[in-house]
């Protein structure tokens, strides 16, 4: 095993010291043959900091398509000619049915996602009603993802019982203008801050494979440390027809494993969740990701694309002897 991997493992597991961005950059530059050792070190960090429990979540697009933003990876943007068109807000009974599906597969988390720039008053009233309804009826922890918030809206969502709020940074500040032009990275960062300031857990994800450089991924890790999320969903680009990123190549599986491991080494205490694109990127290497630092997953389908069946994930976790449970950030 290369000396720098051993040193990183000792620093994070033994000394409980945060690796510097320079140390992480050196690990990112290791050759492919060192990735399994890097993954092994990341798994040791995950077990030491978070234990062996895996948090399982289901997600639902409760308002699909027609989004005014131009996130270049997203098939729900109204700016691009994609097969995903606008649908009306789901009714309570439709949301509850999806939440019950999620509870039945053994998940503890359910995230309601809305394709909007930010909530208007009608959506706020819906959220204030539906978050409590789903929680009471299913016992699930309910998270929300509804775009950019005002301070008043963040307070209302916390008051309504939203357990976690998802707002992704997606990519490094220096790369963001290449991906989104209708809002800024700083606006995203500000909403992330509001989430924490109002007592909700922050779920702040990333999307890898959009053309960002390794240095920009390291930059993103530093930015995530600044914003302090409880959870980081790791998405890999699944190029969608009609979007500006439709022709981007899918990230190589071993490269994805390398970056899962680096995210765990950089963020030892977070809930690091397998998210969109894992099927097309990792293929048969799903188990390897689970032993490279991941300790949570979105199971079943995504917002507009299909994932593995939840049963496949349950069988995988049983085989890995990783119990399913609810997690919170290690304090």
């Amino acid at each position: 095993m290369p000396v720098i991997i051993d040193a990183a493992r000792r620093a994070v597991v033994g000394e409980r010291r945060q690796l510097t961005l320079g140390e992480l950059a050196a690990l990112a530059a290791l050759p492919d043959e060192d990735v399994p050792a890097l993954a092994d070190a990341a798994h040791a960090v995950r077990v030491a900091w978070c234990g062996d429990t895996v948090e399982v979540e289901g997600i639902l697009s409760a308002k699909t398509g027609g989004c005014p933003e131009d996130c270049h990876f997203c098939s729900q943007s109204a700016k691009f000619d994609t097969p995903v068109k606008a649908l009306p807000l789901l009714r309570d009974d439709e949301v509850l049915a999806a939440a019950r599906e999620t509870a039945e597969v053994g998940a503890s988390e359910f995230c309601l996602v809305y394709a909007v720039r930010g909530p208007d008053e009608r959506l706020m009233r819906h959220l204030e009603h539906v978050v409590g309804l789903v929680g009471r009826e299913t016992g699930l922890n309910v998270a929300v993802s509804a775009g950019i918030l005002t301070p008043e809206q963040a307070g209302r969502l916390a008051g309504a019982g939203a357990h976690r709020y998802n707002h992704n940074l997606e990519t490094a500040r220096s790369f963001f203008p290449r991906i989104v032009t209708t809002h800024t990275w700083d606006e995203r960062f500000a909403t992330c801050r509001l989430v924490r300031d109002n007592g909700m857990e922050l779920c702040c994800g990333v999307l890898l494979g959009m053309g960002e450089s390794p240095a920009q991924r390291i930059e993103l890790l530093g930015e995530l440390r600044e914003v302090g999320p409880a959870e980081v969903p790791v998405n890999f680009l699944d190029p969608r027809p009609g979007t500006p990123l439709a022709d981007r190549p899918i990230m190589a599986a071993l490269e994805a494993i390398r970056w899962i491991a680096l995210f765990r080494l950089a963020l030892p205490d977070v809930i690091l969740r397998y998210a969109g694109g894992r099927e097309v990127t990792l293929g048969e290497l799903q188990e390897m990701g689970m032993t490279s630092g991941i300790n949570a997953l979105i199971t079943g389908n995504y917002l507009t694309t299909l994932g593995r069946s939840p049963q496949q994930d349950i069988v995988m976790l049983k085989g890995l002897k990783m119990p399913i449970g609810s997690l919170s950030k290690v304090i």
Binding site: G58, I59, L60, S61, T64, P83, V84, K85, L87, L90, E94, A97, A98, E101, T102, E104, V105, A107, D238, P241, E279, V280, T299, G300, N301, Y302, L303, T304, T305, L306, G307, S309, P310, Q311
Partner: protein
Amino acid sequence: MFCTGCGRRTGECGGCGRDADPWHYCPDCGRWLATQVTPTGWTARCRGCGLTHEVRH
């Protein structure tokens, strides 16, 4: 028959639909479908010919 990925006639499309995608166009009439994905399935409804297609894991 029409491609469920792009709505073109099957012979005019090289097969753009993927297993990881639900249907977005009606295989019977080629019109756009109202497709809702949920954690364990998806439903697609055609406002043109009335087709409803439902898949559960």
